[in-house]
């Protein structure tokens, strides 16, 4: 049996101190260890961005591909060898700007992979441009007058596109996130996990505190049925996407 330690390397991450991505990496290691997978049975495919570096910090087969293309690559890996456990990861630019087409098609194709988006509402690696997840009016180097376009509603898109597993985590809650990742890996079919993973350097608005004040735990909602897609959509719309936990799993 393996443990989280088996998925660790001694490589020092090039993320800024305080970056939310550290927690995502740790949660992924914990989840894979909890499931008891051997590192050589796991493939992690990423796109481009700060978050895209994650596979390089894991003791597992890692493939750091091109911007927005982690999902087609990961699906190719899984379809070729279904015995492998395949995860894909990247940032919100990767999954909802350049790669949104692939994201929706991966959801409807339902290949058994787990897709983790590290969502920080900003382009960090290129030093602070507007993202498709930035809130309306959000000021960045490329939106000096405030973002003029409404953000992509990630969870609504996933539910509408037919994803069979939709969850949302937060870098501040490592335990919940590790549980969601493990559940996503165990789910047979495509799993989507959006993670609020704050950029402490370029996003001074959507901070840990900002999310903490707004996020509602879905487990605390009385009578919530995560197998009810319509209820999931209603909940996500009612709380404007500010919910964490397992939002929907097709039974």
């Amino acid at each position: 049996m393996s443990s989280a330690a088996d998925f660790q390397t001694k490589v020092k991450q090039n993320w800024c101190p305080g970056c939310g991505d550290y927690s995502v990496q740790a949660a992924m290691q914990r989840a894979l260890g909890d499931i008891g997978l051997e590192p050589h049975e796991v493939v992690i495919v990423s796109g481009i961005g700060c978050s895209g570096r994650l596979p390089g910090y894991m003791n597992a087969y890692g493939f750091h591909s091109t911007h927005g293309r982690s999902l087609p690559m990961a699906q190719g890996v899984k379809m070729a060898n279904p015995a492998l456990t395949v995860l894909a990861c990247g940032g919100d630019g990767d999954g909802f700007a350049i790669g949104l087409g692939h994201t929706m098609h991966a959801m409807r194709r339902n290949v058994d992979i787990t897709y983790i988006v590290m969502d920080n509402h900003i382009y960090g690696l290129t030093k602070g441009q507007v993202s498709p997840r930035s809130d309306l009016g959000f000021k960045t180097r490329t939106s000096p007058n405030g973002a003029a376009e409404t953000p992509i509603p990630a969870l609504e898109v996933a539910l509408a596109a037919g994803a069979g597993f939709v969850a949302q985590g937060f870098s501040k809650d490592l335990g919940e996130l590790a549980g969601l990742i493990a559940a996503g890996v165990r789910h047979k079919g495509f799993s989507f996990i959006n993670v609020f993973s704050p950029c402490v350097t370029f996003n001074k608005v959507n901070t840990y505190e900002w999310y903490s004040r707004r996020l509602i735990k879905i487990s605390g909602l009385a009578g919530y049925d995560s197998s009810d897609r319509a209820a999931a959509m209603n909940c996500v719309m009612e709380y404007d996407g500010m919910v964490s936990g397992l939002i929907y799993e097709r039974k």
Partner: protein
């Protein structure tokens, strides 16, 4: 007695033009005749002119003919569009129903025949195409019974009524022509050699080659003229435990193929120019991460959407150069339909051995042109996997260390392991990286890894089966003709004709474009006083590539065609004579 006949049938799309040609070919290909078929079609499904040209010969052919001998016209538009292709003394056989007239100043003969009327008597005017084929059989001096089996094959599944009606339509057409002195036996040919030959398009050969090579995964996006490949693979691959996936676009298709190759399954994609443009980024990733990948590019008329259903060879530069950066890559170009099968197998071998993308350049004429293939020309298949390590070969990795997947080696080829292999864990990235695959920008490492990625390709030429294929009867020639892809068919015929006219001419088929076979080609170029490069594009892409690699020759000329139609042998011969 004639040795060859060029026949064409034309009408509106949806009138059974293609099936008429297929029916004619099905009969002839089992009688030992060599066939070359080429269809003209457009980007619409019903309506619009279409035609199917079949050349019947007693000798192998890989080109359309210089002129048509006989044109079957189902409408006046066909007469207007195609009569000009007829040879002196050529024949237009047109349906009397539309009161056909010959274009002004046209010297050939027009014979109006009751195609629709005979078809109606047999059951439906729709069968006028079958009547036309029946007449053709009589004109070739062949018995109607030869087509009994093809007709059963074509219509047997559609019920007895349909079958009997079509048999009747065919026989009635045959009898009509047998009684018409100007038609019966007009193009009587010597008996064929009796050999039954498969009549296939180039894309069929790609399919067979990919299967034989052990490819078990394909991802693609529909595009003319490459879609036949995914349509065949979606049936064939699941039977072999594999899979064809129709991706959301060509970027995804290429990335899926890279993912599958990375996971250890031979995988490929097939596309045309617009798709190749979209794949450029992914091809660079395969180069940088040293992942095997095979991409078939069936070229069509460009740029942009260009001429989607017409022939061209204008992706040569795109195939060789389109990816940004110094990406290692192999680009090959099969020189005939017969070469596609072994070359396809070789593409998969090279991709694995050299751990890089291999682009196989086909073109519309090569991929959709239909030709009888001599049986037994398939070479023995060998699958080579290169430096692929299995778990048993690998020593235990120290805790938390990666396998040296990108190890600097003398021949530039590093040990490859696939995910799932114990003690083989490593990283792969489009970033510059060290021997374990970790991102690393150090300048010494950068140069060492770059050199490694290119050093490995230096042995490709020696291993490649005939980077150039030479038909050089003379050590000193007046002329050397160089061609690529389907253009080699008409070139070969033009060369024969020039030799008959006393010209001392050699022919080189260029089959490997990257890495470029410099020495082999220079040796052939040195034998000739003048050089003509024949290609289907406006900007002499092949000539430019040759100039870039070879010693300045200063005597190179281009014969170009970019109107969407394949070369005729006489056009190539005329272009060569102009240079002489």
């Amino acid at each position: 007695m004639v040795r060859q006949v060029s026949w064409k049938i034309g009408g509106q799309q949806g009138e059974g033009i293609e099936s008429a040609g297929e029916l004619l070919a099905e009969g002839l290909s089992h009688q030992g005749y060599y066939l070359y078929g080429y269809r003209l079609f457009s980007s619409r499904i019903r309506g619009g002119h279409t035609n199917y040209n079949i050349r019947v010969s007693l000798a192998p052919i890989a080109s359309i003919a210089d002129n048509l001998d006989v044109l079957f016209a189902l409408d006046q538009e066909t007469v207007g569009l195609c009569a000009g292709e007829l040879c002196a003394g050529g024949l237009v056989v047109a349906d009397a129903v539309f009161l056909p007239v010959l274009p002004e100043n046209f010297q050939g003969t027009l014979i109006a025949v009751p195609l629709a009327e005979i078809a109606a008597q047999a059951g439906s005017t729709k069968m006028k195409n079958v009547v036309a084929v029946g007449m053709t059989a009589a004109m070739l001096g062949l018995g109607a019974e030869i087509w009994e089996e093809p007709l059963h094959k074509e219509f047997g599944e559609k019920g007895d009524k349909v079958l009997q009606e079509n048999l009747s339509a065919f026989r009635s057409g045959w009898h009509y022509a047998m009684k018409a002195p100007e038609l019966a036996g007009r193009y009587k040919m010597d008996t064929g050699d009796g050999t039954s030959r498969p009549y296939i398009i180039g894309n069929d050969a790609i399919n067979a080659g990919a299967i034989a090579a052990g490819a078990r995964f394909m991802a693609a996006y529909p595009i003319t003229p490459a879609s036949e490949i995914m349509e065949a693979m979606v049936k064939r691959l699941p039977e072999l435990g594999g899979r064809m996936v129709q991706a959301e676009d060509e970027i995804a298709a290429c990335m899926m193929a890279i993912g599958a190759n990375y996971a250890g399954v031979r995988a490929f994609t097939a596309t045309s120019g617009p798709g190749l443009s979209l794949m450029a980024e992914s091809i660079g990733l395969a180069g940088m991460t040293e992942t095997p990948l095979v991409v078939f590019d069936v070229q069509r008329g460009g740029p942009s959407t260009g001429l989607p259903t017409k022939h061209e060879q204008s992706d040569i530069m795109a195939a060789v150069f389109s990816t940004h950066g110094d990406a290692p890559k192999i680009v090959m170009a099969p020189d005939s339909i017969a070469a596609i099968y072994p070359d396809t197998v070789e593409a998969f071998n090279l991709a694995e051995e050299y751990q890089c993308p291999v682009i196989v350049l086909s073109d519309m004429q090569l991929s959709l042109g239909k030709q009888t293939i001599d049986p037994g020309s398939e070479t023995d298949i060998q699958l080579r996997h290169g430096n692929l390590q299995s778990a048993g070969d690998l020593p235990e990795l120290p805790q938390n260390q990666y396998f040296k997947r990108y190890q600097i080696t003398a021949d530039g080829i590093s040990p490859r392991v696939i995910p799932g292999t114990k003690n083989g864990i490593h990283h792969s990235t489009g970033l510059e990286h060290d021997e374990t695959g970790r991102p690393f920008e150090g300048s010494v490492n950068r140069v060492a890894q770059t050199d490694k990625r290119h050093r490995k390709l230096t042995t490709v030429q020696a291993r490649f089966v005939e980077p150039i294929r030479v038909d050089a009867s003379d050590a000193e020639a007046e002329l050397l003709v160089i061609g690529i892809g389907a253009a080699n068919g008409p070139i070969a015929e033009a060369v024969l004709k020039l030799r008959q006219d006393g010209v001392c001419v050699n022919h080189v088929r260029l089959r490997l474009l990257q890495p470029f076979p410099v020495e082999a080609l220079e040796a052939e170029m040195a034998k000739a006083r003048k050089i003509v490069i024949v290609e289907h594009n406006a900007t002499s892409q092949l000539a430019a590539l040759i100039r870039m690699h070879t010693k300045p020759a200063g005597r190179m000329h281009s014969v170009l065609k970019y109107d969407g139609n394949p070369f005729r042998p006489a056009e190539v011969a005329a272009g060569c004579k102009e240079v002489l």
